[in-house]
Structures are given as C-alpha cells and as structure tokens.
Symmetry: D3
Subunit: 228 residues, 6 copies
C-alpha cells in the first residue's frame, strides 16, 4: 500500500518535489478502527521528527482518511501537515456543492463522521457509504474491490444525490482512474491533492501557527517511547 | 486595485502560469454591500464566457471576499472557479485551529458571515472585525489603512484568541507583508492562495461537477444582457 | 406567469391595497438556477427604485422562491421587502411543526436549501422534493404539472412525514386550490401571504432597519447599469 | 396588564376585528419562570375551549413571550394560535438581519433562549439582555421601567450590534412608543403583530395542520381539571 | 403502570433506597401529546412539594419520556430532579456511539425530538420510530406491544444503524427483558437508570443549582391551584 | 496525582467497590496537549487489557478531561469505559441549565472544546476558561493553584453567567472542597462521578455495544507495541 500511495503522490507533483513515502516503524498493518488510529500515532510522530532532523522535509502528509494524530502532528513540527481527508474535502468544495464518502467498513463510518465534522464539512456530506471490505480485501482482489467501490459510488450519486465522490481510504488510490470513467461526477482520492496542498503551502512560505494550540509540546519526560 | 491583485496573483504562481487580471466592464467601482455584489455579477459572467471563448482560460478566480456570484459562475463554465474567501479559509484550516477575518466596514460583516457559513467555517471563525474604512480609504492612505488593519488584527489575536488572520478584502493584498512582521500568527490574503488552488485543480485535470446543481444554465432568452 | 402572480396577489388583499405586478425589463424568462437568480437582480433593483420614485409604493414583494437579491433589495429602499419563500415559511411555522418544499428541478434543490437556511428553517424542513419539470413545462401543460405536484406533495406527507407543503415556485400559484383538496395538510404558496405580510408591515408603520447591514448603498459610480 | 395588552392589540387591528382580551381564571399573577409558565397553561386551554364553544373566536393569541403551552394549544383547537414571541421574531426577520431581545430578569433568559431556538431564530439573535426588574416593577414605576428598557436596548444596539430590538414581555407594550424615538432601529413588541398575523391567517382561511403532531388530544379521563 | 414503574425502579436500587411511586392526583390517565404533558405538570409539582414537606424525599424522578415540567420541577425543589429521558440518554452515551428511540405514536415523535434536542443528543440520535400503539394498547395486550417494540427496535438497528435502543415511554419497562434477548445491542428504559442517577447525586451531596434559572419561584398569588 | 485521583475516586464509592488507581507504564508525566493525549493512549490500552485479564475489573475510568483514546478503549474491552469529562458533563446537566469549564492552559482550551462537542454539550457550555498554570504548577503550589481556580470560577459565574463549574483536569480534585465553599454554584470534578457512573453501569449489567463501531479491533499484526 505504501507503494500505491507513493505512486499516487507522484502523479501530479512538481518536478522538483521529492516524495519520501514511509510506513511508520510501529503500528498496525492497516487502520480500520479508533484503536488502530491511536496505535499508528506514535510512529507518525517519530517519522515527522526524523523528517525534520534528518531529511529536511518541507511538509508532511498523513495518508489516512481517519485521524491518527493530525492535530498532535501539527504540535510536533512547524512544517505544514496535511491529512488526506481534509485534502479531499477541500478539493471537493471547489468543484461541487456536496459529496459522499466511500469508506471501508460499517465500523469506520463513525471515524469518517468525526473527520467530516472536524473539517466543518457536515453540511456538504450527503452520505458515508461502506463497502463491507477491509484494507486487505482490497489488496487481495482488485476486481472485487473495484466492483464494491463502483457500486457504492453509483448509489451515492443516484440515491443520495452526491455530486462528487471521495474515496475514504488511502488504499483506494489504485481505483481512482477506473472509477472516474463512468460515474459522471468527480472522483477524488486524498493523496494526490494532499501533495499539491503541501507543495503550495511550502511555496507560499507558510507554516503552522505556533502561537497557542499547535505550539510545540512542553519538554517533559515520556516513558516508553522516544519521539524527540 | 486590479494592479495590486495582479501583483499578488503573480507572487507565487508557477512559471508557466499566465495571469489575466481584469476588472469587469460593468459594475461598481468597489464592493461594499450586498447590492454591489449583485451589480458585479453580470460582469463576472461576461468575463468568464470571454475567458472560455477567446482566451482559453484554464480556471477563474473571483477576487472578492464576498459573493458576487460564485455558484452561478460555476454554472457558466466547466473550468474551476475559485473564490478568494474560500481560498483563504481552506489555507487557514491547514495551518491553525481557528481564524478571524478583518473586513472593511461594519456593514460588510454580514456578507462575510454568509461566506463563512457557505464554506462550513463557522466553527473555526473566532470573530469578524471591521476597520471602519472603505475600499477607497485604503487606496487613498496606505499608512492609515495599515494602522487600522494592524490594530484589528492584534485585537483578533489578543482578545478573540484567533490563531490566524484572514484579510477579508482583495484590496488588502498590499498590506500582507507589513502585517506579517509583528503579529505572530499567519496572515493570509485570498488572492495568492486562490491562484495556487486554481493551478493545482488544472494540473490534476479536475473540473466543476456538472451533473446537477452546477450544470450549464438552460438555454433561454435573457433580456437586457448578453452573456453567452 | 406575471398574470397568475397578480391574481394570487389579489386573492386576499385588503380592498384599499393596490397591487402592481411587474416583470423586470431585464433578466431571464424564468429562474431555474443560481445564474438566472443573478441575472434577475438588476431588474429587481430597477423596479424598486422606480416604485419608490414614480409609484409611491409602500412595500415590495419579490416573487421568486430563490434569492434574486432580497438582502440587496433591502439596501436599495427603506420600504419593507418581502420574499415569497420567507412568507411561505413564516406562515407554515404558525400552522404546523414542520413542512416540505416542492421545487421545480433537481438542480433547484440547492437554491431552496440556501433559502431555507437563510431564514433559519432547516430544523422544520422535512424534505425538498423536485417535480422534474421546468417553469415552462408547468405553463405548457397544466394537468401534467398538477399531477407532478400532487405526486410529490403526497410523498412529502406520506414518506417524509411533512405536516405542511410549501410550493417552491411563484409559478405554482395556479395549482394551490387543486392541491389543497385531497392532501389533508395546509398547502401554501408564498405570493398570497407575502402580500398580507407587506400590508401589515405598512399598516404598523414599520420599515427596514437602516442602521448598518441594510443601509442605503454608498453613492458610487456604477458602470453599465442605471439603477438609481 | 390585560388592559395594556388590549390597547396594544387594538392599535393596528382591522375595523371588523373584535379583540377579546382575557386573563385566564387560573394561574399566577405574572409569568417569570418555567414553573409559572406551566401554571398558566391550564387556564390558557380553558379560555381557548371557551373561545371555540361560546365566542366563535377565529384565532387565538397567547400573550406571553415564553411558552405557556403554545404547541398544546394548537392541539386543543383547529383555529390558528399565535404566540407573541414568534410574532415578534417573524416581524424582525422581515426588517433586519438580526435582533436582540430585552427580557425581564436574568432567570428568564433561559426561557427566552428556548423560545428563540424553538422558532429557529438562534442564528439571528445577537443577545438576550435582562433589565433586572420584574413584571410588577414595570407596572409600579413607569419611568424606572422605561429607563431600564432604554438602557439595555441601547447596549444591544451599541455593544451587541443588534439591528432590531424585541421587547420580551407582553407587559412592555406600554413602552414601545417611547423606546422607538431615539434608538435608531425598529423596536417591536409581539402583541400588535400577533393580532395582524392572526387576522391574515383567518383571512386566508388557514387552520392548524391536524394530520399528526397537532391533532386534537385523544379523548381521555382527566382528573382535577375540566378543559373540554 | 405505576406498579410497573415501581418494579422497574426497584430493580437495581441500593438496599437502603426507599422508592415512593406515585401517580399525581390530577392529570390525564396517560401522556400522549403536548396537551397532556401540560395537564400532568401541576400534579407533578404538588407531589414534589409534598415529598419535600411530608416525606423528606432526597430526590425526584419524573417518569415520562416527554417533558411534563422538568425545568419547572427544578425550580420547585432544591433536591435533584431526574427525568427518565435524560437518564436513558446519559446511559446510552456511555455505552454506544448512537441510539434510536422507540416511541408510542407518530404524534409523539415531535415531543421526543424536543427532549432529544433539550439534552444535546441530536447528534447521537439515529431515528425516532413509533409503534402506532397507545399507552393503553400496551397495557391491554402485552404480546402485541412486544411484537411492535421488537419490530421497530430491529428496524432501528438494521435500517437506521442504531447501536443502542431507548424505550421512549415509562410504560415500556415491562418489555425490557424480552427485548434484550435477541437484539444484539443494549436496550434501555429510563426508569431504572433514573433511580441510580438520583441515588448517586444524593450520595455525592449534590443539589440543583439555585443561583439563577432554577431558583425557587417568586412568592406570588396563584389562582386555582394550591402547590406550595 | 495518581494518589489524589485515588482519594477522589474513593470519596463516594460503595463499600464493596474496589478502586485500582494506576498510572500507565508508558506515556508523559502529564497531559497538556494533543500530542500528549496520543502518547498516553497506548498505556491506557495496556492497562485495560491487563485489567480484563489479570484483575477482573468490572469497568474502567479514564482520568483525563481530554481524550486519550476513549472510543478506542471502548473497542478494546466490553466492560464499560467512563471518561471524567463525560462524567462531569452528565452530572452538570442534571443540576444546572449550563456550565463553564476551567482548564489548565490556553492551549488546552481546544482539546476541551473537542470533548464538549463530542458529548453534545456545546449548547450548555458558557465558556472554557484557562488558569495559565500547568499540571506541575498545581502540584507544586497548592495556594497559587487554588487562587487561580477560584478566580476563573468566579469569572465564569459572574461574567459568563455559568450556573455550574466543571474542573477540567483530573489534577484539580484536590481543590473541589475549597472551591465549593464560596462560589454559590455546584463545582464538579469528573473523578468522583465517574466512579459512580461506572458502578451503576456494572450494577445494571450493562456493557459497551459491540455490534459495530465499538466492536473488538480486528486481529492484526501490530509492530512495536504489545497490547493484547
């Protein structure tokens, strides 16, 4: 999946942009519930600190449609941090009056709802539909995954009157091209636009507001993990 | 003011991007109330149709922090249309948990509120502050304008706890640099980021969803104006 | 359609009330999208100024369920301005705990939603249903129009549990009587109640608040249109 | 106070309209808390049933800015029932983009908030200000009452940026004229407009929707009170 | 029904807790509309005053899922007052991300909606479903009542994706046990948890905040009823 | 601080309730930002699994007013999980029409806001005030901490009209008694009521709904942490 994300991230990047796609050293194989979001966060922080210290990264993209610590990540670095859900939502709002999200499982609907609320998008969201398949199902059987995404996307357009479809999992980037063909509305993943948003924030010289909420964490003893 | 906007639009544009900055042939000298928003809309539509037919424009930016017909403009063309208010808001949300907007006059607060609601940003907006000066005052006396913007920006940060400041008028682009120096939070105009959002939508091959709400207007007799 | 509106406006007017029904000199033949709302606004302003100067009108009614410039119209004159959507909504709220709106087309649902929000009625609105027919279809074939309105009204009551039905187009005034017969809930157009609201505002000597948001527009050069 | 309300109710009534102003036979001398709202409701129902049976009333006005059983009253009769808070709010929305309410006491702010929410007016309400005086204080000392109302109204306009002021107690009708003189924004009581709304609902032949929520109460034994 | 409530109230009470279950001396035989809510309130206040004066009650439970005067009851006594709707909602929120409510009749949906809003639970409420049966139907035919509750509960889970079911009538306490067996989600009545909440408020020495909104009613003449 | 929490947890517990107060083996010394919330979550999950496997715990209390993984914790176990913020909020709603929260620092206001929204309490929250002191400041200097809490609590009551005060940090439990003396409104910490809510959920035999959102996490390889 990291390879797919890397490919999607490179699709529209500027020539000079260098993408480093990493899967954190700690955490679960995929993120399909609140628990796994939290398990992923530590590794996300570690990669960001490494990016700041060793790789001189200009910005960070968190490739999960849920929330494995985005606000916290904005505390950890002053470089821009872009989540793929907010990137997809921001893009949809420029193109359509509303959208639906296709998520993995019934149980991940709640996490998408939290994200939708957090970014002020509840009034634009027509529905959150689940495919009933997990991350590994999509990796194991492309055709079955495509069929499920196409089916739910079509229902979102026909039944829920969505005028744009967001793919609610970083693992769905492989399906964007195929889905766009027949649906008649924009189909957006979050990975490609997140790269573009990161690029333009860097280009405009903008950094995270450090005045209060997203200030660096206080220096303090942390047991069990080494982040900084 | 069109020159200032042109300069701001060029600040961060890609080398290959060509900016055509136009002031519509019809409409008021500036936009400071709902009435003037409406008077501006006809000219906006005419420029967009001209851009589609004669100039092969790839995208359109509407440089008004209020709403001189953005949804209607998305009906008129299939090319992306970006408003500067939504561009500024989208940018702020990547950088800070909240923001305040500095607008011209007490009477324009209501128009900003409509825009804030339309883009789902009410939950992020700490305050809308007015300078008490009109567009022409800012053009006539730079120092007085800067002083007013600096004063209200500082109040937004200190009293309203805003962690980002949005400049709620295209005419404020000249003041961005000076304001950024001492405020301690990101100061954003909408013109520069709007150019960047337009660029990336074009680069990703995305166009306005034409399936329903933003479909082209029906062909129909229009008395008094020639748009198409 | 102006004749139908005139007839509906006269239905319940006081004996001394004089109705002047005008179709603005500029604008589209009907209003079925955001673009056409904006095209209509200039003509609306011109008629209001003419009404103030030449006809000593006491109040103005804007007979469109969408928003062809109502807030702007309140800036242009100090006389009360009443829109038919807000008139229908205000009436419904006195009679029922909720309502549905029947609109023309799928694409006009979004414009009705804006209006519903603007008047603080989202919590009362059970659904917005579209007939799939345009303004001219209703004019061309009464029976087909009636059938479509009756069908959607019944669905609003039976499926969406609406306890009142609002007809979301000024052109629907011809159908009110027929629709009321069998539906079992109040069926409201906005034209007749708008006349009554205008009458009582005049009778009570009330005018638009001119202290800030709805103050007269600043005197300013306007290119291309003569309003004042 | 019933006399004052009668006078206010007659101010703008049509010549043929007959006003019957009654103070229910049971209940508290004034309404200044939730408890007193409930104590008043029984008498309200009794008067409505009497009005239906003995006086052939065409509509009912409940002259309390709080809620002594308005929804219940709509169950008890099919004739229109108009509350003075909703009448004042509906009027304000035709005239101004927002309003403030002046209420009696700090403790009645919560009841006004409930009413504001119930009528979908939260987005228009700039503030609810209390005078610190009770109903009887206003009756006992006109000048002191006027001074308190004028002071809070002015603060609502100057500090809270209200563009219309609603008088949040039926007992305030005596003060409307004096308050209007210097404030510069519309000052509205609810009694006069409620009469006008009742008149026009009757004139248009409209009655409460009886299909579900406001259907007549089921016939049932009631201990302790005789209503029907 | 008072017996059923008593039984449910005793189910989980602490050994030392004494339950006094009373049906007020005045009011309707059951509560199935807004009108009946108001008719019940007087008797509720009388019982509370009696409880304070004669029975040294430590807390009060109002066993109606609607609102027969809960805020008013909090004015009448300083002892904690717990409603069964808020008790059920509070419990559900500890156990599930959302819930549905099963109410009696279509007409009682609106009263439940008011309660849901009042307790800030709109964002958690998936649906309010009605059985189509009245209170007396449930008393007259247990099996028919159970079948209706089971059917709507299952629809709430399967169709509305509710993850918890609240029984929206005190009379449903007899059905809890049977409903829990097969549904697969928590099924909650409000009576048992209300007793527990009352117990713990008493145990922690907490009383209603009397500083403003819920202060004791002012001493005042009340015609027709003797409460204090 | 764990000792203080233990003491507060025991204040009102039932005689048979055994409290095990633990500070997770991993994580930061205190929680004062989003980052530290995430760092704490892993340890919380580990303690819960240990509690389930080794200590036969009947319920879990997470003693942080922010959110170190409460939804995730509900996935990890089927036993009830109670957070102290939701416990404090639930208690306040039984006692007062609104409340304010006193939090540590300006930067923790945002985390409290998230919690307030998550529990549907935005409509009840008058203000969130910060003391400007960190967790360790409160531990180091009791008098200074008390003075800060008393000052902000008083402002919440006097200026923000709060009728109940919530102490927004587990570390504030030591100050409850002193604060209650002079404030005139209920002062609530979340620890003591959380224990009571946990007790009653256990007593009523209730467990977390496992049907969907809070189902156990899928079995899956997790790198770097051992939780189950």
């Amino acid at each position: 999946m990291t390879d797919s994300i890397y490919t999607a991230a490179c699709l529209y990047k500027l020539p000079d942009t260098e993408i480093i796609a990493v899967s954190p050293k700690t955490g679960p194989a995929s993120i399909e519930c609140f628990y796994e979001e939290h398990l992923s966060a530590i590794g996300v922080f570690q990669e960001i600190v490494k990016g700041d210290r060793e790789e001189s990264c200009d910005a960070y993209i968190i490739s999960c449609f849920g929330d494995p610590g985005i606000f916290a990540a904005r505390e950890v670095t002053k470089k821009p941090v872009v989540g793929i859900a907010e990137a997809a939502i921001a893009t949809a709002k420029f193109l359509a009056p509303n959208f639906s999200v296709i998520t993995l499982l019934d149980r991940t609907v709640a996490a998408v709802q939290e994200v939708i609320h957090r970014y002020g998008a509840a009034q634009f969201c027509k529905s959150i539909r689940s495919t009933g398949l997990g991350v590994l199902d999509f990796e194991a059987d492309f055709d079955r995954g495509l069929e499920a995404l196409a089916r739910e996307s079509k229902k979102a357009v026909d039944e829920d009157k969505a005028e744009c479809v967001l793919l609610g999992c970083a693992g769905f980037v492989d399906f964007v091209e195929s889905l766009r063909k027949n649906l008649g509305v924009p189909v957006l993943d979050g990975v490609s636009p997140a790269v573009k948003y990161a690029e333009i924030l860097v280009q405009m010289g903008l950094e995270t507001s450090k005045i209060n909420t997203f200030a660096f964490p206080p220096e303090k003893e942390v047991k069990g993990f080494t982040i900084f």
